[in-house]
C-alpha cells in the first residue's frame, strides 16, 4: 500500500469544550495531537503519500502539519466543507487516489504496530479489535475471516470485536460511496453487493476519546512510552525520576520534584518547589508557580498556574490564567453529557482561555466552558457553558 487517506474533518461534539475551537484529531495527548500518532504510524510503515480530509477548524491541522515534511510524509489536503458522514469525507479524496489505499480515522490513536501486516494487505479488508465496551463502537460479525455485517453501537453486542475504522480499499469503494453515509454503511453495502471484506484482528494500541475525561486515560497510556530527554535548564536541587522529557528553553527551578512519565514542552518556567507526578503532560510557554502539585493531568500551552495549587486528574486547555491556591482534586461524580449519565472520577476540565481568581475550588467532575471567568474564592461544580461568568 503506497497511499492512505486520513479522515480529520470531524468535530467530536461530545468532547466539548475542547473541540469548540479545534477538530477532535487535534486533541493533545502526551504533548502531541492524536493525528500525529496516526501519521507517524503510517510513516513507520513507509506510507508517505497521505491525503488528509479536513473540514471543521481545518486551519488548526494546516498550522501544525503543514506539508508534512517535518513528519516524514507528503501531505495533500482536501476539504470536506460540510460534515456529511465519513463516506462523504472519503469521497472528497477520490481525485487524489491512484490505486489501493488505507483509510484511517485521524481521531483514534494508533501506533505503528497497530497496522502490522495490514499495511501490505490486499483489499478489501477491515482492521478489527477486541474491546471491553463494544456497544460504543461498530461491532463486526465475522464468519470464516470474512465480515458478514457491521452493526453500529448495538444495545446487545453479538461479540466484543469492533471495527477500528481502518480499512484497506481498492478504488472500487467509490462506487458505493454516497453522501450522508458512514463507512460501516458503505462496507455493509459492499457486502450485500457480493464484495468480500476480510476482517483482520490487531493486538496493537487503538485508543479512542469520546468524552473529555477520556483524554486523561489516553494520556496515561501513551506516556508509558515517553523517553527521558532534556533541552532545557535544570537548576540545582531538582529531583527528576523516571522518564521525563523537557523541551527547549524550559527552566525547572530549584527544589522541584518531577516523577515520570512526564512530558514538558518548550519555553516553560516551572518552580521553584513544584511537584509534578505521573502521568502528566505540559504544553509550551507554561508557567507553574512555586509549591504547586500536578498529577495525572494534561496542561495545554500558554497556561499560567499560580502558587500553592493542587491539580489532579484534570485537563487544563491552552491559555488558562489561574491565580494562586487553585484546588482541583479528583473524586467520584455523576455527570451528564448529551443526556447520558456517566459515573466519572476526575478533577476539573477547564476549556481554553479561562481566567480563575485566587483560591478557586473545583468540585470533582466540573467541566468549565472556554473563556470563562471565575472570581476568587468561588466553588465551581457541574457544567459551565462557554464564556461563563462566576461572580
Amino acid at each position: 500500500m503506497r497511499q492512505a487517506v486520513i479522515l480529520a474533518a470531524g468535530e467530536g461534539q461530545r468532547l466539548r469544550p475542547f473541540t469548540v475551537n479545534r477538530p477532535k484529531v487535534m486533541l493533545s495527548i502526551a504533548g502531541k495531537p492524536i493525528l500525529q500518532y496516526v501519521i507517524k504510524a503510517l510513516a513507520q510503515k513507509g506510507i508517505r503519500d497521505v491525503v488528509l480530509v479536513v473540514g471543521y477548524h481545518k486551519e488548526q491541522v494546516l498550522d501544525y502539519f503543514g506539508s508534512g515534511e517535518l513528519f516524514g510524509v507528503d501531505l495533500k489536503y482536501v476539504t470536506q466543507e460540510r460534515q456529511l458522514g465519513t463516506a462523504h469525507a472519503l469521497a472528497q479524496a477520490k481525485g487524489a487516489i491512484k490505486d489501493n489505499f488505507l483509510v484511517l480515522p485521524g481521531d483514534n490513536l494508533i501506533i505503528g504496530e497497530t497496522i502490522d501486516r495490514f499495511d501490505t494487505i490486499e483489499p478489501e479488508a477491515v482492521l478489527v479489535k477486541k474491546v471491553d465496551n463494544p456497544m460504543r463502537y461498530g461491532v463486526v460479525k465475522v464468519q470464516r475471516g470474512t465480515v458478514s455485517e457491521i452493526i453500529e453501537k448495538p444495545e446487545e453486542p453479538v461479540s466484543n470485536l469492533v471495527s477500528t475504522g481502518i480499512y484497506a480499499f481498492s478504488r472500487a469503494v467509490f462506487d458505493f460511496v454516497e453522501p450522508h453515509l458512514d463507512l460501516p454503511d458503505v462496507a455493509n453495502r459492499m457486502i450485500s453487493g457480493g464484495q468480500e471484506i476480510r476482517a483482520v484482528e490487531t493486538e496493537g494500541t487503538w485508543l479512542d476519546a469520546v468524552y473529555p475525561w477520556d483524554i486523561l486515560s489516553l494520556n496515561a497510556a501513551i506516556l508509558q512510552q515517553a523517553r527521558a530527554s532534556s533541552a532545557g535548564t535544570i537548576e540545582a536541587g531538582v529531583s527528576i525520576k523516571g522518564q521525563v522529557s523537557i523541551g527547549d528553553g524550559t527552566v525547572i527551578r530549584s527544589n522541584s520534584y518531577i516523577a515520570g512519565p512526564v512530558v514538558i514542552g518548550d519555553g516553560c518556567d516551572i518552580g521553584p518547589g513544584v511537584c509534578i507526578f505521573p502521568a502528566t503532560s505540559i504544553g509550551s510557554n507554561v508557567v507553574v508557580a512555586p509549591f504547586t502539585e500536578i498529577k495525572n493531568s494534561v496542561i495545554g500551552s500558554d497556561v499560567s498556574i499560580g502558587p500553592g495549587s493542587i491539580i489532579e486528574d484534570s485537563v487544563i486547555d491552552n491559555s488558562c490564567d489561574i491565580k494562586g491556591q487553585f484546588s482541583a482534586c479528583r473524586g467520584q461524580e455523576e455527570i451528564a453529557v448529551n443526556h447520558e449519565r456517566h459515573n466519572v472520577n476526575f478533577g476539573a476540565m477547564l476549556g481554553e482561555g479561562c481566567v480563575l481568581g485566587n483560591s478557586v475550588v473545583a468540585q470533582p467532575g466540573v467541566i468549565v466552558g472556554n473563556y470563562s471567568q471565575i472570581r476568587s474564592l468561588k466553588l465551581i461544580n457541574g457544567r459551565l457553558p462557554d464564556r461563563s461568568l462566576v461572580l
Binding site: 528553553g249 510557554n285 490564567d321
Partner: protein, 595 residues
C-alpha cells in the same frame, strides 16, 4: 531587486533552476529566464512568471550547468529583451545580475564605440560585453577586470559556453553558495536551494568565487579567502504553503508560534533581565530607530514603548531619508530593523551610523544577511522565512523583540514589570483566539472590499497600527488606504470623508481612549461608515460605531500585536474578496535591495 540562481553538477540543470527560481519569486517576478549549457549554450527568457516560462520551454533544453534569473525591473521596463540572462556579442558568455550599475551609460558608449552590439536597455548588459572584451582564456580573470570597471551594486553569476565552472561575485547585493554532494548551487537567498541542501556559504562584499561541480574557491582582492559554511535550520516545509491558498494566510497563522519562539528564553517570571541589554551604556541618551516600510511601523511602536513607558528619548527615521537628514553621534544608540537584512537603504544607513561612531544593533530575520555583518550587535527574530510580499509574522516578531529589549530599561516598579511579563506570555493564546474567529473578520473585510478608499485612525501606541493596517490593505487589495493619527484628521483629510470612504478606528482602553471616541463621533458626523476595533466588553464605542470587531483584553502596551493581526486578516480577506494576487502584488518585491 531580482533573484539569481545557478547550478553545476551531474543532474539536468533546467528543472533545478526553475524550482530554485520559483522560490525566489518574492524578489521580483515581472520577467525571468534561464541559460543552460549542454552541447550548445541555450538562453530562454520572457516577460512572464516562472510557472509560465516552465510551460513555454522546449523539451530539449539539456545540460548540467546553468544560471537563471527572476526580475524586478529597474533599468528598462519588463520585456523579453530586457529579461536576463544577457549575452555578449558572440552569444557564448551569459550573465545574470541583481543590483544596479551606476556607470553603465559611459561603459555602454565606450563598448559601442569599440564595436559591441547591445540588444537591451538594461544596465546589466554591459557586463557580458566587458567580459567578452577582457576574456583571454581565463574567465575568472576577465570577470575580475570587468568588475574593476563597474561602479554600483551587484550579485552576478557568469556562465560561459564550454567551461565547467560558474564565476560569481557580489557587492552590496546578497549571494550564497549552496553546497551539495558533487554539485553546487548559487542563489540570492537561502530558500531557493533548501530543496537540495541546507549547507550554505554566505559570500561577502567584493568576493569573487569560481564554483565547480566538486568544489569552489573564493577570492577577495586577488587573495584566496576561507568562507565558513553554515548549516541552515530552516527546512523546505517552512517555505511551502502547507494546505493554505496563500503564503500570507499561512504566515498570519504562524504568529502564535512566532511569538512563543521569539520570547522563549528571554522571559522568566520575577525577573526581566535580558542578556541583550543593548542600551545599558546609553542609558538616558538618545536612541535612533531606523527602518523602511512595515519595519518602520514596528520602529514607531518601539518609540512609544521606549518613550512613553520607559522615559527614554527616541527618534525614528525612515532609512531611505536618513542619508539626507540624519545626524547621529558617538553618544547615540541606534537600532536598525530590517526583515531581510538586505534592504539597501537600511544597509546604507548602518554604514553612515557606524562612520559617525554610533553603535548599531540590527533586528533582522535572516541569519548571516548583509546587515548582520555590518552591525555591532545582532538580534535575530525567530519568524522563519517569510515568502508573502506583505510582511506579517516578521513584523510581529520585530515587535516582540522590541518588547523584550525594552523591558530591562523600564523605569517602572518591579511589580509592573512582572505583570507585563505575565501578559506577554499570554499573547500567543490571545492571537490564536483572533485566528479561531477569523470568519467574523472576513465578513467585515467583504464590506471594506466594496469601497475604493479607506482611512485608518489610531492614537498613541495604536497610531503606528493604523499606518500598518492601511499599508497592508493598500499593498494587497489595491484599495487606496491612508493611516492617520486620529487628531490629524481635522487638518486636511476630513475633506475626503464621505459615505464612500469607511474609517477603521483602532481603540484601546488607554489614555487615548476619550480622544478616539471624540474622533469617531466627528467622523460619523461626516457620514463615513466606521468600523472600530475595541476591547471585548466595550459597549460605549459599539454604540457610536457602525460595526465593531471585539479583540481579547490585553494590556494596552501590547495592543499593537493584537490589533495588527486583526488588520492583517482584514486586508487579506478584502484582497481575496477582490480577487487580487495576494502573495505577489503588482509592482512590489519582497526585499528592496536597490535604493
Amino acid at each position: 531587486m531580482c533573484g539569481i540562481v545557478g547550478y553545476i553538477g551531474e543532474r539536468q540543470a533546467k528543472p533545478i533552476l526553475l524550482n530554485c527560481l520559483a522560490r525566489l519569486e518574492y524578489r521580483g517576478y515581472d520577467s525571468c529566464g534561464i541559460a543552460v549549457a549542454g552541447g550548445k549554450l541555450q538562453v530562454h527568457k520572457d516577460a512572464i512568471r516562472v510557472g509560465a516560462l516552465q510551460e513555454k520551454l522546449p523539451s530539449h533544453v539539456e545540460g548540467k550547468i546553468g544560471i537563471g534569473h527572476t526580475r524586478w525591473a529597474t533599468h528598462g521596463g519588463p520585456s523579453k529583451i530586457n529579461a536576463h540572462p544577457h549575452c555578449d556579442c558572440t552569444g557564448r558568455i551569459t550573465v545574470v545580475h541583481n543590483g544596479i550599475i551606476y556607470n553603465f551609460q559611459q561603459l555602454r558608449q565606450q563598448l559601442a564605440k569599440e564595436g559591441h552590439n547591445f540588444a537591451s536597455e538594461t544596465d546589466t548588459e554591459v557586463i557580458p560585453h566587458l567580459i567578452e572584451k577582457y576574456f583571454a582564456g581565463d574567465l575568472e580573470d576577465a570577470v575580475v577586470k570587468t568588475l574593476a570597471e563597474v561602479e554600483g551594486s551587484y550579485a552576478i553569476a557568469v556562465l560561459m559556453d564550454g567551461r565547467p565552472e560558474l564565476v560569481v561575485a557580489r557587492k552590496d547585493s546578497p549571494l550564497i553558495i549552496g553546497i551539495g554532494d558533487g554539485e553546487n548551487f548559487i542563489a540570492s537567498d537561502v530558500p531557493a536551494v533548501l530543496d537540495y541542501t541546507s549547507r550554505v556559504v554566505y559570500l561577502e562584499d567584493d568576493d569573487i568565487a569560481v564554483v565547480r561541480k566538486e568544489d569552489f574557491q573564493v577570492k577577495r582582492k586577488g587573495k584566496v579567502v576561507d568562507r565558513q559554511s553554515h548549516q541552515v535550520t530552516w527546512n523546505v516545509e517552512d517555505a511551502q504553503k502547507g494546505g493554505y491558498e496563500h503564503f500570507m494566510l499561512k504566515e498570519i497563522h504562524e504568529q502564535p508560534k512566532v511569538i512563543r519562539d521569539t520570547i522563549r528564553g528571554h522571559l522568566t517570571a520575577g525577573q526581566a533581565i535580558s542578556d541583550e541589554d543593548i542600551f545599558a551604556e546609553g542609558d538616558g541618551r538618545e536612541i535612533i530607530i531606523l527602518a523602511c516600510g512595515t519595519s518602520y511601523h514596528a520602529a514607531l511602536v518601539g518609540k512609544y514603548i521606549l518613550e512613553q513607558q520607559f522615559k527614554v528619548p527616541v527618534r525614528t527615521e525612515i532609512a531611505s531619508e536618513f542619508g539626507f537628514t540624519g545626524q547621529s553621534s558617538a553618544q547615540s544608540r541606534a537600532v536598525v530593523i530590517t526583515q531581510s537584512g538586505e534592504t539597501a537603504d537600511a544597509l546604507k544607513a548602518i554604514k553612515k551610523l557606524r562612520s559617525e561612531g554610533c553603535p548599531v544593533t540590527v533586528i533582522t530575520n535572516v541569519v548571516g544577511s548583509s546587515a548582520t555583518r555590518l552591525a555591532d550587535r545582532v538580534i535575530c527574530t525567530q519568524a522563519g522565512p517569510e515568502i508573502s510580499v506583505a510582511a506579517t509574522k516578521s513584523y510581529t516578531a520585530q515587535l516582540m523583540a522590541l518588547y523584550w529589549l525594552a523591558l530591562p530599561l523600564a523605569r517602572i516598579d518591579l511589580r509592573r514589570k512582572d505583570r507585563l511579563i505575565t501578559e506577554m506570555r499570554q499573547l500567543p493564546g490571545k492571537v490564536q483566539r483572533i485566528l479561531d474567529d477569523e470568519g467574523k473578520i472576513a465578513q467585515h473585510a467583504a464590506q471594506i472590499a466594496t469601497y475604493d478608499h479607506a482611512f485608518f485612525i489610531g492614537r498613541g501606541i495604536n497610531y503606528p497600527v493604523a499606518l500598518e493596517g492601511a499599508l497592508k490593505l493598500k499593498e494587497i487589495s489595491y484599495i487606496h488606504a491612508e493611516g492617520y493619527p486620529a487628531g490629524e484628521l481635522k487638518h486636511g483629510p476630513f475633506a475626503l470623508l464621505s459615505s464612500e470612504a469607511p474609517v477603521v478606528a483602532i481603540v484601546a482602553p488607554d489614555n487615548a481612549y476619550d480622544a478616539m471616541l471624540t474622533s469617531i463621533k466627528e467622523v460619523k458626523a461626516r457620514n463615513s461608515p466606521v468600523l472600530a476595533l475595541v476591547e471585548e466588553g466595550d459597549e460605549v464605542v459599539e454604540e457610536v460605531a457602525d460595526s465593531v470587531i471585539a479583540v481579547p483584553k490585553v494590556e494596552p502596551l501590547f495592543s499593537p500585536v493584537i490589533n495588527t493581526v486583526v488588520l492583517q486578516l482584514l486586508a487579506y480577506y478584502a484582497a481575496k474578496e477582490r480577487g487580487c494576487p495576494i502573495d505577489f502584488p503588482r509592482n512590489l518585491a519582497k526585499s528592496v535591495t536597490v535604493e
